[in-house]
């Protein structure tokens, strides 16, 4: 299946670890194996931003060349993230940004780079952001297994409750496939922005729009969706409040 998207001339293959729209989690282990058999030198990049808070990642087992994620999806601060790269890759790469701390020796007409990871960390680093991110990662990691189970329990509850609303259609989350605790849906006759605004008035925060995934919206034949994201702090009560707000929106708008 993946051969549809890559061949022996593919230089870089980039894939999400979990869809921010549907919550779908592709089988990365299998996909990366297939990609390596198509072209062993292909550079494989995984965007783990959505996945990181919901599934355990072992970069060595996954065998991607690069894995990236943002701290704010792990209850950390905004504007900070992590980029993992295989050492063999990073050693081959030239710095993309120049500044303090990324050089080893400077002469008038020559210079060489500092060791990894310093050569990619030019200038003044965001120390508070980085320290806070590390704390957030530790916090999430401490109760990870419990969180995954708890979120999946809430996800199943949310799917059951949402599917009871006859005007509502859940996108994805089909039986047997692997989905994280993110659910996109559309409500017949209620625009996603109106739905989000009415939920907001009922103190329920959901996201509405194309989620920076316009080609996927096109494929789904929708202009936008509403999306609920379940985190470790949510409860069944939050989900009941959401479904109450959706029913209220249907009553007001339709």
């Amino acid at each position: 299946m993946i051969s549809k998207y890559a061949d022996k001339n593919t230089l870089i293959f980039s894939i999400t670890g979990m869809s921010n729209v549907t919550g779908f989690i592709p089988d990365l282990r299998k996909i990366i194996d297939e990609l390596r058999s198509i072209n062993k030198d292909m550079i494989i990049v995984v965007d783990a931003t959505q996945l990181i808070a919901h599934r355990k990642i072992d970069v060595k087992e996954m065998d991607a060349d690069f894995v990236a994620f943002s701290a704010h999806k792990l209850y950390g601060p905004t504007g900070v993230g992590v980029l993992y790269g295989k050492k063999s890759m990073l050693e081959k790469m030239e710095p993309f940004s120049y500044g303090g701390g990324m050089i080893n020796k400077v002469e008038l007409y020559d210079s060489n780079w500092a060791e990894l990871p310093d050569k990619f960390e030019a200038g003044t680093i965001d120390t508070p952001g980085i320290v806070a991110s590390a704390e957030a990662i530790k916090y999430v990691d401490e109760k990870f297994e419990f969180t995954v189970k708890y979120e999946d329990m809430l996800k199943e509850y949310a799917l059951k409750k949402l599917r009871e609303i006859k005007e509502l259609k859940v996108i994805g989350h089909n039986e047997g496939a692997n989905f994280g605790p993110v659910i996109s849906f559309i409500v017949d006759g209620v625009h996603p922005h109106d739905l989000a605004a009415i939920c907001n008035e009922k103190k329920v925060c959901i996201r509405a729009g194309h989620h920076c995934c316009q080609p996927l919206m096109g494929k789904l034949c929708v202009v936008a969706t509403s999306r609920m994201s379940i985190g470790m702090y949510n409860t069944r009560n939050d989900i009941d409040n959401l479904t109450d707000a959706i029913n209220h929106a249907i009553k007001v708008i339709r």
Binding site: H191, P192, H193, A197, H210, V222, V223, A224, V252, I253
Partner: protein, 130 residues
């Protein structure tokens, strides 16, 4: 955001005014908000002086804020001069629909005015070229 979906907005949403197309409209313009899929096409028929709006209609689809503000705006614009329309801005619209909105939703409310303004520019450009 208290009471965003007031009765008069929902009335306009469910029973929008001035819906339809105008054959031989001097100004005809289509535009959309990519971020949410709101879409309108505006049609303007001018007076004999070619400076005032004689008739205005629209077709489109979108959220309550977008559709209701388009309905209200088209009601307001009948008889207005093109110059007056060009001077209208966000404040004009927000006053018209009597709402305070967040930046994302302001785009919804502004779509029809922005589209008409673009249509007027096209019309004037075409006419200045003779």
């Amino acid at each position: 955001m208290e009471g965003l979906y007031r009765e008069y907005l929902l009335d306009h949403y469910h029973n929008p005014q001035n819906v339809g197309k105008i054959e031989n409209a001097e100004i005809k313009k289509h535009d959309l908000n990519v971020s949410c899929g709101d879409e309108v096409e505006m049609f303007v028929k001018l007076d004999d002086d070619k400076k005032h709006i004689k008739e205005i209609k629209f077709i489109g689809h979108g959220c309550v804020i977008c559709m209701a503000s388009t309905s209200i705006l088209t009601d307001e614009l009948k008889g207005k001069s093109l110059k007056e329309v060009k001077e209208m801005n966000t404040d004009t619209i927000l006053e018209m629909i009597k709402l305070k909105l967040t930046p994302t939703r302001i785009k919804c409310a502004m779509l029809s005015l922005v589209t008409i303004k673009k249509g007027i520019l096209d019309y004037e450009l075409k006419n200045s070229e003779g």
